[in-house]
Symmetry: C2
Subunit: 219 residues, 2 copies
């Protein structure tokens, strides 16, 4: 865990800025992959798809202002953002529901490279138990409590069918999980103090549709 003073950890970063930090991190990773060592706020803003004034404002919450005439050091800024998000530490994660989506998530390389380690795959379906996906055994859903305790799991991923999502969430919460990523197409209700985020795989497709429509109208 990164050492930080209590004054640092109590700063409030606006939620919209928090949501953009992973996008900046992704853009910086792409720049780094291309061998780029420093970038201007304009270049980074373009790569991240935001305007540069907003980018500079967002990064100012991290105390990161770049160097006049040079811009931002790509590696250092990656480190600053990763530390702020918390992905410089190791996050054990459980995935519940090992259908197609659960399989795809278990195999998804982008989790591991961002500090997320899938420690267990759970499914209610007995016929799946003992199957090994991406090097991890599929275990009974009933093992959730033991696994959460053993590995100190704070984050659970729901890839179960919509009808099971609330039950899975309730059980996660009762085991002490305090953050839930919900891929099931269902609204789940959790107590205060538990964060839920819902993934909508159609959002990016909608952004493409917007541009397609404009291309069609201008053609």
């Amino acid at each position: 865990m990164t050492a930080r003073s209590s004054s640092e950890s109590s700063r409030d970063i606006p939620e919209a800025t928090v949501a953009r930090l992973p996008v900046y991190l992704r853009a910086l990773n792409t720049l780094a992959d291309d061998g780029i060592r420093t970038c201007s706020s304009e270049e980074l803003a373009l790569a991240a798809g935001v305007n540069s004034a907003k980018l500079r404002k967002d990064l100012s919450y991290l105390g990161s202002y770049g160097t006049r005439g040079v811009g931002y050091d790509v590696d250092y800024l990656r480190y600053q953002i990763a530390r702020e998000i918390g992905v410089t530490q190791d996050w054990p994660v459980v995935i519940v529901g090992i259908g197609n989506l659960g399989h795809a998530l278990a195999n998804y390389s982008g989790f591991r490279s961002r500090g997320f380690r899938v420690v267990a795959l759970l499914d209610a379906d007995e016929s799946r138990h003992g199957e090994v996906v991406a090097g991890v055994d599929v275990r009974p859903f009933g093992d959730l409590e033991e696994i959460v305790e053993t590995h100190g799991v704070a984050i659970g991923v729901i890839a179960a069918p919509a009808g099971a999502a609330q039950d899975v969430a309730d059980r996660m919460v009762s085991c002490g999980i305090t953050s839930i990523l919900n891929f099931a197409p269902a609204v789940i209700v959790v107590p205060d103090g538990v964060d839920v985020r819902k993934v909508d795989l159609s959002i990016e497709l909608q952004i493409l549709a917007y541009h397609e429509q404009r291309k069609a109208n201008s053609a």
Copy 2:
């Protein structure tokens, strides 16, 4: 297709606003599901996770200002946003790569409900041909051109392995596809005029990690 004047279609909406429109649409759908007919900008902003000044500014690009003392009509605003994005029309989509992720995407109910219709599933692996996923036949990748022409497909989804992603993209572009949603963990290069968006399934997980870290620090 929605009728619109050329002056309307030539307005420039900032990219960041475009990216938030599907988020507002999702929030409005949730409000509508809860039986809510009108909402204030503050309520909608909260549901969408943005600040209300930004929400009002974003919606002003659509000519949507709500009614003083009443707020926004949920159904009408849904329609306005859906029309602006272009999801009031039907978008035929092909998915290439029918591994676990391709299966999950083909079965994903959120595409159909947003105007995206999966017209074909393609895979290079012969052993998959003839398989039916979510009511759609898996066909040889070589059929791409014929399918794109027959259905007027403008949007392609890449769910192939990273190593195949660029080849798939090249082939899509040569067939006339002008928007690509790339789920493969690989950077793909396309000519000007083709839009590519990359889905990073770890972004929401990173936002959760940020809040978990803060909970841990304040405990």
